[in-house]
């Protein structure tokens, strides 16, 4: 419940960002390194930008990238895993070998290469994160499909002469949906962490405010202005934690039999 409350608050903040802080978060509004107090709630950064405005606008970026990257990764992962699990045999071996290969590559390094090569824009960051995030989903969906494939209700569909697409989409997929939703919700948290890591290294869209970017830029002033790095970091921590808690709550609600004490 706590997780859901925090998450809703972050989402509300992200949605209201243009109303609360209509000016660009990149705008210089005051002296640099104002400590957190006075007119600017969290103080200002090394260029005199309002840290509160930066963090609120950063929430938009993080949530947007986390959500979109996860949607793509879930779609790709579920497609590959579903085909592998349903058809089995050679297709399964081939697709799983492909998945394994993707898992062998150190994924964060891979994301860095992708974003650098393709130049850092929002679309490319989303693409890179989804490209490194789909393998676990593929494995999960494959496992579920493999287990469902030999169940009676699927055999009944096959013997009725139903075509594969209909069996997969109308009968097996709905039965695996709860597992996909739970894992997918946890993937949003991971995606936000990857995004923050990338933008910390300077690999974020230069026109979009992002939490990792604020920390990466504020890092040089760590000794004198600790708040510039601290505030966005807490924002990431709280958001990711809230999403993880919601994911666990979903798990308890959707898979009551799997609940661990």
């Amino acid at each position: 419940m706590a997780g859901l409350t925090i998450l809703l608050a972050v989402i509300a903040l992200a949605l209201l960002a243009p109303l609360l802080y209509p000016d660009s978060p990149f705008a210089l509004v005051a002296k640099p390194f104002e400590p957190p107090s006075g007119p600017h709630f969290f103080g200002t950064d090394q260029l005199g930008r309002d840290l509160t405005a930066e963090v609120v606008h950063g929430a938009r970026t993080s949530l947007l990238i986390g959500l979109l990257a996860t949607v793509i990764a879930v779609f790709v992962g579920a497609t590959i895993g579903g085909l592998a699990g349903y058809y089995g045999g050679r297709i399964d071996a081939l697709l799983m070998r492909f998945t394994e290969m993707f898992q062998t590559i150190p994924f964060f390094l891979f994301a860095i290469v992708l974003v650098t090569v393709l130049t850092p824009t929002i679309a490319n960051v989303i693409f890179a994160i989804s490209l490194v995030s789909w393998p676990p989903m593929a494995r999960l969906v494959r496992g579920e499909f493999l287990a469902m494939r030999s169940r009676e209700f699927v055999l009944a569909c096959v013997s009725m002469g139903m075509n594969d697409a209909r069996i997969i989409l109308m009968h097996i997929l709905p039965n695996t949906l709860s597992a996909i939703i739970v894992t997918g919700s946890l993937m949003v948290a991971t995606a936000i962490l990857i995004e923050s890591g990338l933008s910390f290294l300077g690999l974020s869209d230069p026109n979009t405010m992002s939490w990792g970017y604020i920390i990466g830029e504020g890092r040089t002033a760590l000794r004198t202005a600790w708040w510039v790095c601290t505030v966005p970091g807490v924002a990431i921590l709280v958001t990711v934690m809230a999403i993880n808690l919601v994911g666990e709550g979903l798990n308890d609600a959707l898979n009551p039999r799997l609940r661990t004490a």
Partner: protein
Amino acid sequence: MTAKGLRYVVRRLALAIPTILTIVVLNFGLVHLAPGDAADVLAGEAGSATPQYMAQLRQTFGLDQPLYVQLVVYLERVLTLDLGYSFRHGMSVSALIATRLGPTLLLMLTVLLLSVGLGVLLGAIAARNLNRWRDNLISVLAVLAYATPVFWAGLMLIVVFSVKLGWFPVSGMEEVAAFNEGWARVLDIARHLVLPAITLTLFYLALYTRLMRASVLDQYAMDYVVTARAKGLTERQIAWRHVLRNAMLPVLTMAGVQVGALLGGAVVVETVFAWPGLGFLAYESLFARDINLLLGIFFISGCLVVVVNLAVDLLYSVLDPRIELR
């Protein structure tokens, strides 16, 4: 090692070859998608360059050849473990990687031992004290650590332990100017290692603690625990001799799977602490567009992951003799 075990190792290594080759080809293609090449970078640093000079640079580095020729040349070289020459650092890539491999392995091994060891311990303690204060405390800390971005944890540790308290150095691996030797040098490196190792450990510690806790709880529901109780073993014996060993298996599997991710995490941590390892080198080479070097790092990373996965599989069969090596 038995003949059977040896055959297994050879077969697994043979299976890994196509995977590694594919990684090399994939990365080669990707890096060549990037706008600009090494000649552009070098010319940019020189301030100005005539087209003739650029052409000469490209010819020297083979950059004027068609892409597939460059790829074939690269593959041939990789097969003989010659990873090319880093014109940026002015030394061969394999030599450069060799100098940077040590620090990364030191960091990764420390983190792996700390996170698996402490994770197993904390997870077991939490599960044994289910829903009491120890369990609650450990679980809350795990949830927090699991949500903390690695680079931020590193920065916060620097603020507290280096800047405010002055206990540990801010960056680097050793005090080069001090010319320490012998134990003094080991001690110096250990002092530099503390913060980066803790930073990277926190996240994985949380992961393994949660996994271990769930695994121990699963094991306690098994029949063999009832049998052990029935034959009069003490709870302590059941926990440490029977449950712990079985419960560790999923944690080990996870640790094996996570090696690739650990290497990625090392990039961030090494960047924060200027730890002179492979991850920091990858970060530097990306921004210098040092293509040969980058390909070399990816190749070595892939090999490293394959080898560690194999080692984990072998360890697995030692811990659980029921698993057959096939």
